[in-house]
Symmetry: C6
Subunit: 77 residues, 6 copies
Amino acid sequence: MADWLPTLITPTPEEGFALAIKMSRVAVKMTQPDAAVRDRLRGTYAEDADALIASSQVAAHWFATVAAANDYWRSGS
Amino acid sequence: MADWLPTLITPTPEEGFALAIKMSRVAVKMTQPDAAVRDRLRGTYAEDADALIASSQVAAHWFATVAAANDYWRSGS
Amino acid sequence: MADWLPTLITPTPEEGFALAIKMSRVAVKMTQPDAAVRDRLRGTYAEDADALIASSQVAAHWFATVAAANDYWRSGS
Amino acid sequence: MADWLPTLITPTPEEGFALAIKMSRVAVKMTQPDAAVRDRLRGTYAEDADALIASSQVAAHWFATVAAANDYWRSGS
Amino acid sequence: MADWLPTLITPTPEEGFALAIKMSRVAVKMTQPDAAVRDRLRGTYAEDADALIASSQVAAHWFATVAAANDYWRSGS
Amino acid sequence: MADWLPTLITPTPEEGFALAIKMSRVAVKMTQPDAAVRDRLRGTYAEDADALIASSQVAAHWFATVAAANDYWRSGS
């Protein structure tokens, strides 16, 4: 996982959103390094309303940081 | 889903609120891409008090970022 | 629900607090539009300690944004 | 509850902490206005580890806003 | 508990971290003033993965405020 | 654990991410100092979808602070 996060800066909000999702997943990976286990669990929680809501909460948190880093992409708006 | 988030800037707080709800749902979609499953789960959690409270929490989080991006729409107030 | 959020600016912290509660409820309404269902669920979670704590957490989150928007009502203090 | 929150400004961090606790409780009161019910529930969750941790989380959230409003009481340090 | 929080300013990040933990515990104490009960509950949740994760979340929240108050101890870095 | 957090400043976002994970773990350690217990619990929650999502949420929270401390590593981007 070397060099997976060279910068928080992204050209667009969409790419920032994608980065937030990626950071969220890497954080999970830190706790559960086994991809097979993660895939199995994803199958479970993708069918669970509470887990889906929680996923969105987590993404919101990572995105908040990425968005601040990019000054909310204001200059491009 | 190309170009679904061109900017975080919205003309009004209400549109910012709507954008926050949208971002929240797209984040869910990233975990559960199947619309039929999402619809079924929504039927369930819309009847669950804890899930509704959690939904509002998630919306609050996304909105915080959108509001900051728009400098809280202060100039229009 | 047109024009329900014309501004985040309120004259006082108390009105900001009330707005935060309102935003929290509108977010719930987005997920569960049926008022009768919401009323029924409120009866349930108002008797549930975890749900009450979660409600306060959600209100805190909305309020944080409203307070920042109003620069914490510092000039009026 | 008129005039219960005239300002977010407090002379000291401790008073800010107390205000955060108060705001947290008022938010609960908005959902459950019956003091007898709240007292009964407090008896329950005060014995529940998860609820106590959640209470601290909520207090942290309210305090974050109060602290920011007071510019972290830096000038008094 | 008089004068337990004279300032949010600490000389180092580590002391800020310790202060965050302390604030988290005082907040718990506000809800459950009985030290014997708290000790008993700590014995329980220290063996519970979810509670431990939640504890870290709470600490993160308090620390965020302490760190901001100290301007992230940048001048000392 | 003396001197484990000399600074919040890191040269790169990746190192900031690693620091956030570390802070998250130290916070857990404050509640559960027994490494054997923590290892056993990690085995459990690493197989639990909700716990993994919560872990990412916690990491996001610590990272937000580290990122702000580093001004989002903007100058290096």
